[in-house]
């Protein structure tokens, strides 16, 4: 691949170097690289954390779909995290022999490490209810926080959110609501009195389905990357990014839908025939809502909205992983810490060893792995940026200066989002940010 950087060898660059504050990163992206520098340690960190992320993610997507499709409008969903065996065994669409597009070479059921953890937890083998009450389990609250970020921010491209306001959606939801509460005059009465309240719950459940279908793809992608790395077949950060780019394209057209099963009957609240796709209605809104925006986490840091410390415009929210100061955010009970705790259970040995040799060793593993996660998500975001460039703009080795300028403007616009002081892009350029 021809690069457009000044350091690209003997070729004269077709366009002048960027003068952007992150020109070095932009030139790297133009050369087919990632926002994350290509070092052996970065590669090891991101692949290790992808593996540690994929195992709980295998639970998240299954339970998100279980809640969206089976728990549905249960007014007291105390057991929504008690996923059924059917959903633990539900064949993943992207792994196992039955999958039409096999991304991971592994099996189609829940990952063995996940099953083992669900049985033993951090403590010991005991009834599921005790694990739940002791909070010795997968932190499904993290997945719900991501879903709520997507629900709350809304309108981030794609047509999913518009459809939730359509008459067709309301009619489909109405049928499902009435079927679900059939024979329950109290809930049917409540629905009659406050129809929008129940409809809003269904909309939220549609986002459960959306995120579940999104992560059903990402878990096998991360498992396969980990296996390829272990075999020595993924040897650089750009290779890891390219694997993600190819994965994004391969599943871009996957339908995003919301089906509900009530007494054995399937209600298509969002039918596949609406044409919603994994890329436009799930992946891009997810990246925007979760990587960039989210919202300030309770109990971590005080913000004075009157003093303008919280943006008036939701599009300017910057509380996602790409901006997070992992140390104060790493307080107990908040979504990022819940994820870190989940990933801690499945760290590959080489990452455990790495963390022992830095900072406070085992004492601050959650922080160290949080920063590793941040690096890894900068790489995922790089893959999304490169995929968008590939889909909407021009090849990196294009010979037309106007095309290269259009690519440049796109990369610079993406980097503008990291000009605010909270962005961690400068930090991840060096290895001593841990």
């Amino acid at each position: 691949m021809t690069t457009t950087t000044p350091a690209a060898g003997t070729k004269t660059p077709l366009i002048p170097p960027s003068t952007h504050r992150y020109a070095e990163v932009i030139h790297r992206l133009e050369a087919g690289g990632s926002m994350l520098p290509d070092t052996p340690e970065n590669l090891q960190q991101i692949i290790g954390i992808y593996k540690a992320y994929a195992v709980p993610m295998d639970f998240y997507w299954r339970d998100l779909l279980y809640i969206a499709e089976q728990v549905f409008l249960n007014p007291l969903p105390a057991f929504k995290y008690f996923i059924s065996q059917e959903y633990l065994d539900r064949p993943c669409s992207y792994s196992g022999d039955q999958s039409q597009l096999r991304i991971w070479r592994g099996g189609e059921k829940a990952h063995p490490e996940l099953i083992e953890f669900m049985e033993r937890g951090e403590t010991r083998r005991m009834p599921k209810l005790l694990h739940h009450l002791w909070h010795d389990r997968v932190n499904m609250e993290f997945a719900e926080a991501c879903m709520q970020a997507m629900l709350w921010h809304q309108g981030m491209g794609g047509r999913f959110n518009d459809y939730l306001a359509s008459d067709a959606y309301k009619a489909n939801a109405d049928r499902a609501i009435k079927a679900y509460f059939k024979g329950n005059p109290l809930m049917l009465g409540l629905y009659k009195l406050f129809p929008d309240m129940v409809l809003e719950q269904v909309k939220q459940l549609s986002y459960y389905s959306n995120l579940g279908l999104f992560w059903e793809v990402m878990a096998p992608v991360f498992f396969e990357m980990s296996d390829l790395y272990d075999e020595g077949k993924l040897t650089s950060v750009p290779q890891a990014m390219d694997f993600l780019v190819n994965g994004i394209f391969a599943v871009a057209g996957r339908p995003i839908y919301h089906h509900v099963f009530i007494r054995g009957e399937c209600f298509e609240i969002i039918p596949k025939s609406e044409g919603f796709t994994w890329l436009y209605e799930a992946a891009l809104p997810y990246v925007e809502a979760v990587f960039y925006r989210t919202s300030p986490f309770r109990g971590t840091k005080s913000y004075n909205a009157q003093a303008g410390q919280v943006p008036a415009n939701q599009a300017d929210f910057h509380y996602g992983i790409l901006y997070a100061d992992v140390f104060p955010v790493g307080s107990a009970g908040i979504p990022p810490t819940l994820l870190m705790q989940d990933m801690l259970h499945f760290l590959p040995p080489y990452l455990q060893e790495m963390y022992k040799t830095h900072r406070r060793g085992e004492e601050d593993q959650l922080i160290q792995l949080g920063i590793t996660f941040q690096r890894s998500m900068y790489n995922v975001t790089s893959a999304v940026i490169q995929a968008l460039r590939c889909a909407l703009l021009y090849p990196l080795d294009d010979s037309d200066p106007e095309h290269l300028t259009a690519n440049r403007q796109f990369f610079e616009a993406q980097m503008d989002r990291f000009l605010r002081p909270e962005a961690r892009l400068p930090d991840i350029q060096t290895q001593d940010y841990r």
Binding site: Q100, L101, G157, R159, V245, N246, F249, A250, V251, A252, G253, R254, P255, K272, S273, E274, G275, F276, T277, Y280, L284, L388, A391, L392, L393, Y394, E402, H403
Partner: protein, 133 residues
Amino acid sequence: MATILETALAAGCFNTLLAAVDAAGLRGTLEGPGPFTVFAPVDDAFAALPPGTVQTLVDNPAQLARILKYHVIAGAHGRSALVGQPEWSSLEGAPIPIRRSEPFEVKNATVVTADIACDNGIVHVIDRVILPG
């Protein structure tokens, strides 16, 4: 004169596009009176997409139809008309930008042959599959 699909079939370089039109159930629409303006990607354009991209779409007709509809504009518009407006609304709903008139570029694709007149519209042959967004 031939219809849009007959013209594409005769050209011999739109096999993937024609298969996709059938898989998406759009044959009836494109054989109708239209008229339509179709930006038709050649086989090489589909082949340039990363592995699995086309197959996933073919397996999901509604999603495939959405992408194909992004290549179609209502009405018959020749090159001279198209370049007179910065963007056009596709049947998919998203706008198709006209990026350059010389060479003639539609979004990130280059029109390799423009203004192929058909019974029910006009075909412009493009070298890349264009995607909304």
